[in-house]
Amino acid sequence: MPVQPQRALYNLANRLIFRATRNRLPSHATTDSTETLLQHAEARLSANERTIARLQTDLDASLHFHRGMVILTSLRLLSVEATKNRDISFRSWRLLDVEDLVLEELGATAEVHLVQAGELEYAWRVITGRVREADAFLARFKEQQRILRSESAALQKALDGNGGGDEFDDDATTTGPRGSPLIRLLKFALPWRSLLVLGFLLTLAHVGAQMITPWLTMDLVDNVLIPLQSATDRVHVKHVYRFAAFLAGAAVLTWMLNWAKTFVVARLAERVTSRMRRETFEHLQRLSLTYFNKKRTGDLISRIGSDTDHISLFISINLIEFLSDSLFFFALAGILIWKNPLLAIAALGPAPVVGWLVNKVRTHLRGGFAAASRAWSAMNSVLTDVIPGVRVVKAFAQEQREIDRFRAADKHIFDTNDRVNRTWSFFTPMIELLTDAGLITVWAVGAWAVAHDRITVGVLTGFVFYIYRFYGRLESMSRFLASAQRASASAHRIFEVLDVQPDMPVNDGRKKIGRIRGEIEFKGVKLRHGSRQVIKGIDLKIQPGEMIGLVGPSGAGKTTIVNLACRFFDVTEGAVLVDGTDIREIDVEDYRRNLGLVLQEPYLFFGTIAENIAYGKPQATRAEIIAAARAARAHDFILKQPDGYDSMVGERGQQLSGGERQRISIARALLIDPALLILDEATSAVDTETEREIQEALDHLVKGRTTIAIAHRLGTLRKANRLIVMEDGRIVETGTHDVLLAHSGTYARLHQAMMEVTHR
């Protein structure tokens, strides 16, 4: 039942404001041409031929953008691309004839080479972003070739069995629900639909109340003032008081309704924007590290901060006002026409011109506001970059450079705002001019009509009143225009975040695992970051309770391996198994409760030391916190802080030394009693004496849990059951300290280098 008015409102708003925006969705030119290419190719398939996979190519031989497509069918490899004179060129190779397809990575681009008799026969070029797709395409190709070669009917059948609809899913398109941002904004308001309806009703009443005064004025002039002036009838004076009383009543009513309306609508706006802020932040928390690696903090801050603010302003002030104005507008036009059609036409003459102007200015403004929001983000990004890095700035005496950087960002903001203001400053006075034009016409036509006795002076006065209001409304509608475009641009930026699909838990097995035994197995693991193959094939099985030392030169991929074990990233190839289960099938949160992680760059949150130690287990008792701190050899220095465990650590733990931060983060990891303890250079910033102490404490604690420790100071890993030596994304050696030394390989080299440094 309450859905009804809400729905009507929704539709009304839809029709009134947003229609043009919706129609102007850009048609996607590129999909168009790939579709054409695909159609061309498919027209050439023979009857018993199926499409298995396809790969879009991006570049021609001169590295200009040029769309083409390679299609793998059950029998052939087809290549289609548009030629210069808009024809389609088409080539094909029988799969059994193709010797090999090879992927050549060339940095920002990559090529797929078709090799025939050891020679390069043909090449397709793609941008790096498509390398993964190309990889998958090649895999499909090899599989199909194998199937054809073996000519095995059974295999063929198996392929038919699982080769269903998923073959064409274009994983590049991850756009969520679309639609005008403002319409989606309305959906955010749905939980408060009663407030919405109430706000709307109050607005309606407010509009009605505003109509009373001019109406009374008409009567006042015709029935009181004019007779009073011409005749000398004393009785009429009483009417003046009555009218004055009515007018006062109308004014008070208008005031009260306005008050109630503003209150209700502001409440609504606050709730909607708070929900947007919360949902955006909650959504951010679900996104993977990959997303944050790409995004700038300042940009996200300004999206959650100032963009939601724009929206709040829009809803609280402009949206409902706009609706009431539109109603007012039509009611007025109705009254005017009813009172006197001739005068009404004269008065409303300029209105269509205004309508046209509004439409012209709108797109302009929207672009401007979007640019302004982006500029704002850019400035925030500069701030979030520079303020935490202020020590580096000072150390290198680069203050002026940062000032210039900020200035540039700030200038960008005022440039974009200037652009909006230029449009704006023209628009508002224009509306005023039109108001005056309307008024002059009303006076002129009205005087003529009064002279010819077509209307009374009272009606003319009423008209002038109405017209004033009318154009006054027009002006506020034009303000709405700006605010709506700004809100629309902002809403778009927020939905951009909300529409990002969390890319981590893809095949969410949601398998609850509880406490793990601690067996971790890497099986043919490869990982690619963009175009770079960072992990090039790792096979490693870690037994429950084992302590593994990971060593190797900087950049070898040690941290990356640990990231994979934590499932911060997913492998590109191969699998990570935990207790024999693929990590991708396990509920991520459930799994991570097993992890105690000490990062290479320990990060502490703003808060007290105790809060930071208990971060992973907020309900920890004080005894547990102290025990963890003792184990991490942090207890003594904590007590030297002014407030002991209650001391604030400052933002990012700035008030502590590097080694102190490390020890607190070790305590934090130990407190949750993890089944898998990961120490990435956990003690690199503490002195050797303290490191030895921590090590001794850890020796007790590593019992019963799997530990992966990374260290450059090789002595730290004396207690490790096995040392794994990595180099360039691969495991090059495995064994105990002594065995590895005797082996005189990479480890021996690293050890030798270290000894030289320490004994110099």
Binding site: R622, I626, H635, D636, L639
Partner: protein
Amino acid sequence: MSAAFDLSTDTSGRLVFVDPAGTRHQNVRPLRMFPLTEPNHWISLQDASGREVGCIEDPSKLSEAQLTALRMALAKRDFVPVIRTIHRVARAADGHEWQVTTDRGPTKFRTENDEAIQSLGGARFVIIDDHNTRYLIPNVEDLDRDSRRKLERYY
């Protein structure tokens, strides 16, 4: 463990601690581990060089004499006035000037920035002045209405 150690005050008013192993530590300093959130539990005892020699989780389990000795030693070391009333908070050139009445009498102090007022969870607050003295507000709700209003602007 409470039976296994002893606390006393020597003739010059310093704390003496005999640990469970029987070793006698002269002039130990008691230190609250959680001076703001749990001031009455978890007292660390340190020797002159800052090494921890003992730890008392719950002083209420001590004997009367031990407790008095501990209390006296603690009182000398800690000075955390509890704010009862806030009379005035004025914006000064760099920070704020406060006029308050505490459990140790009326006083004035200055804070430097907004971070000087810290929430300790719930209604518990601590204000750190520019001399690093800590003023505790155990429960904002217990302040009078006027004081609360004045504080509200800053957290």
